[in-house]
Amino acid sequence: MQHLWDTRNLIVHAQGIIDRSYLKKYKNLNLKTGERVRVASKLFAWWVEGLKDFLKLTDQFLSNYFRNKETSP
């Protein structure tokens, strides 16, 4: 998720150009400073799957929380 957020910030605030802090954080991705960040279908699908897992758990939590609130005095 952090990778998606960082990539989004790069796209919105830096024209998608990789800076030193992004490079340092994701050095295992074989990137270069000054290059344009590339979002491809595989990466996007990976983000979506991660988000779905996270949001499913969050929503189940919220659902249980509301149910508890409704049943508790």
Partner: protein, 188 residues
């Protein structure tokens, strides 16, 4: 939310591994938005890329054919052949560049939209929590004079307080420039 309350709800959530649950409106909104993104991605004109590959293959065949003819002495106007190939290559490369630019743009924008949709979900979720547990709003910022006069009812005023609190909670507001300020994502 009290710690015990959080732990109890979380334990119950982890125990319940079913894929069916009473989805919140916020989640249904997210699913709907995600469906739109996926539908849009299917519209990426991949057929165009295929067309460019076909053009390149055709050009490469022509180059080989002409090279053969030049070697055999059948065709001697090498300059003209090279000039034709260069023109065609320039056209194909312009089309490929255009395709790649459009492709990148679509992927970039969908990533930005994805973050916006998740943030919207989290904001709505926090608003619901605050509706059920108004005690959380004790740290909410006071509303501005303008906001108070803009709303039509007390219910709208409550909504506005919850909305502002949710936004502040999600974005990790606090003072800008405060080193302890974190982004919404890292706090999640």
């Amino acid at each position: 939310m009290r710690k015990e309350e959080y732990e109890k709800t979380m334990a119950k959530t982890k125990d319940d591994q079913s894929t069916v649950w009473t989805k919140t409106d916020a989640y249904m909104n997210f699913e709907n938005n995600l469906d739109h993104i996926m539908r849009m991605l299917k519209m990426i004109p991949t057929a165009d890329a295929q067309k460019h590959v076909v053009s390149l293959k055709r050009l490469s065949k022509r180059i080989f054919r002409n090279a053969k003819r030049v070697r055999k002495g059948v065709h001697t106007d090498l300059d003209r052949t090279l000039s034709d190939v260069t023109v065609e290559l320039t056209e194909i490369s312009a089309k490929i560049n255009e395709f790649v630019a459009l492709h990148n743009l679509l992927w970039d924008w969908t990533s930005v939209m994805l973050v916006a949709f998740v943030e919207a979900y989290m904001e709505e979720g926090l608003e619901y929590i605050a509706t059920k547990n108004p005690g959380l709003l004790k740290n909410a910022d006071p509303l501005s004079f303008e906001s108070i006069f803009e709303v039509d009812s007390l219910a709208d005023l409550k909504d506005e307080i919850r909305r502002q609190w949710a936004r502040k909670t999600l974005r990790g507001a606090g003072e800008v420039g405060n080193p302890s300020r974190q982004t919404g994502c890292s706090r999640l």
